[in-house]
Symmetry: C2
Subunit: 381 residues, 2 copies
């Protein structure tokens, strides 16, 4: 049989959750993991151990893969270009992916295609920040252009003194940072789309996301109370970005909603935490549609199977043994879907998530938060 093989670089929970979708589709699935204890490496049959930024490891991994894709955005673009030069399909391609790797590059590209962004400025000296703050007012958001995730690499500064403190070392090292105006949002949204090389695209219902300390804490889909035209606008923005930046696979566009306007915060070109609900809550999960998209197969229906889906992340707390919570959590809520990634517990680390679907999102949120809190040891009954 001419079964294709998707090779995913990175062995985290996104690769782990893609594995189930690959198994159902009956396609091959190979993972490049850093170690055998990575979430995907614990469960996937075809695991190669190597480093995502080691050229030789990448070159050893790729042969036999129909297409290379990603669990994270940390692979050096130059190596991906070398893979492409060898005739290996890389999706999203390195030039598209670079927008999710370099925030200055992303802001320039988004301005070019005229989608709404916070005002921003490249910062290579302290007075770039103070000049910018004079325009947009303090506080200002400072971001590393590369390498940040889950709130790392982002600082909110309220004065020139605070900015100087954050920037002293990187500016001395010659780094370019990004300053952005702080948007006073009423809620954060995530608009996810899948897009295939032949240009088909589908849009998921728009999610409301809640971040705590820069980490996604909970997701409600569809965003409660979001006006239909605003939801369509969010989907159209995501579809436009996917098309104009030539994204293939899943794209998540995180947005601020001020009530009056939407502003684009971040892009992710892979399955995303804001789409985990889709495993149980959508006809086709983001993981399946990512695989279908990178293989240039027709995409699956992204629509929801219930009025609401709620996902709450399980973050590391004081309890080392997550399994000890199972009996209580599962007995209390037979409708709860638990996903644990097999990671060692560390405070604040994403260890898993729970999803519940149903009619009343407020009730679903109470159920999801209870389970996540119980796993984390925040509550004990």
């Amino acid at each position: 049989m001419s079964v294709p093989v998707v090779g995913m670089i990175g062995g985290g929970q996104l690769a782990q959750m893609c594995a189930a979708a690959a198994t159902a589709l009956g396609i091959g699935f190979r993972v490049l993991a850093n170690s055998l204890t990575d979430p995907a490496a614990q469960v996937v049959r075809d695991v190669r151990i190597g480093d995502h930024d080691d050229r030789d490891d990448l070159l050893a991994f790729a042969p036999g893969c129909t297409v290379i894709t990603f669990d994270h955005e940390q692979v050096p673009p130059v190596y991906l270009e070398q893979l492409e030069a060898l005739g290996i399909a890389v999706r999203p391609g390195p030039s598209a992916l670079f927008h999710a790797q370099d925030k200055i590059h992303m802001r320039r590209a988004l301005n070019d295609i005229d989608v709404p962004c916070p005002r921003w400025r490249v910062v290579s000296a302290l007075d770039h920040v103070t000049d910018f703050a004079a325009e947009v007012a303090w506080p200002v958001v400072l971001k590393t252009s590369r390498g940040g995730y889950d709130g790392r690499g982002v600082w909110v500064v309220r004065s020139a003194e605070q900015a100087a403190e954050v920037l002293a070392i990187p500016l001395a090292a010659g780094a370019q940072w990004l300053a952005e105006e702080q948007i006073n949002f009423v809620q954060e949204l995530s608009a996810q789309v899948a897009r295939s090389p032949h240009g088909q695209a589908v849009a998921y219902p728009v999610a409301r996301t809640k971040q705590v300390n820069g980490i996604c804490a909970e997701v409600v889909v569809p965003c409660p109370g979001l006006a239909a035209d605003r939801a369509v606008q969010a989907q159209e923005i995501a579809l436009r970005i996917a098309r104009d930046l030539n994204v293939t696979g899943m794209l998540a566009v995180e947005m601020f909603d001020t009530g009056d306007r939407l502003y684009i915060n971040e892009l992710a070109m892979r399955p995303h935490n804001s789409g985990h609900w889709s495993i149980e809550g959508a006809v086709t999960s983001q993981f399946e549609n990512h695989l279908r998209a990178v293989l240039d197969l027709p995409l699956g229906d992204p629509r929801a199977v219930a009025p609401y889906a709620v996902m709450v992340n399980i973050l590391g707390g004081d309890v080392d043994d997550l399994y000890s919570a199972y009996r209580h959590v599962l007995a209390r809520d037979p409708g709860l879907k638990v996903h644990l990634y097999g990671k060692q517990v560390r405070p604040g680390r994403k260890l898993g998530h729970v999803t519940v679907i149903g009619d009343d999102y407020e009730e679903l949120l109470l159920r999801g938060r209870h389970a996540a809190d119980y796993f984390a040891g925040v509550i004990d009954e």
Copy 2:
């Protein structure tokens, strides 16, 4: 972490589909497969190669498993008793499982607990059949007591001559067979329940199954037009069997519905083809509930997430390359869920299935049948 490990004997598609549920729950999952090309062996990380009826292979497989369970019912009971004697949990236990291994034993036990069965007779000589046929009338169904599945080991005979032809060799070898009256049913049903060692049990909606040549061809859940009291009766029968036979894990009770009465046809003590719809169609799939049950964890909600779910098996036909159908099938029906097991194509072999959920079961059946027929090469558009 005190993560348990479920060890499943048999590497077929049931083990393959359990793997996704085990991954989500974050529990360990080990498979004893006959070869690396078995469906589960292609995708599961912790695979051991061995023979399900080799005592040494079983003894090598079990250590480290929290509980042993099954992809099929072919493991010799005496070896399972030996595992239990070593302190290894086996679920379902060998004395329960034996009812699904030996049809004569099953019929006796079902008569003892007074659940409705076709009339039956143990056959060790030809005149046992002719005497029985004189009571119940021809045709009579002859079954091997052990080892049959998917219609193998079952013959419908219409005369003493036909019976003699079927039985000549086995009776000469001293085998005991089973003769059963043929039930003129209007439809076949499957009632599935999950039961845990501490006695919790949940019942899935009753499925209508359609067999072709003794192989499950399609399933509609819930059974269209089945009166509510008849559905409850079917569920109660399955719950009673699970309790009285001390079944742990999933139990499928296949029944004939004559319109007036239900008759028990077969038992399966594992996830079952009639429950594949539950991956997309139920809050908790049969695979997850099997794992939860054998681990004595609280069971998940078995209810449906849509008014109807339809599953159609993909059976081997003339097309060797199933993947060649993907582009057409997926483009035609974005809501279709495809499951391919990674098996080599052989005519009539179960190679995968498709599931669709929605409001109108007749439309769902057309969609499911089209996809299955297209995969099999029965139709080409």
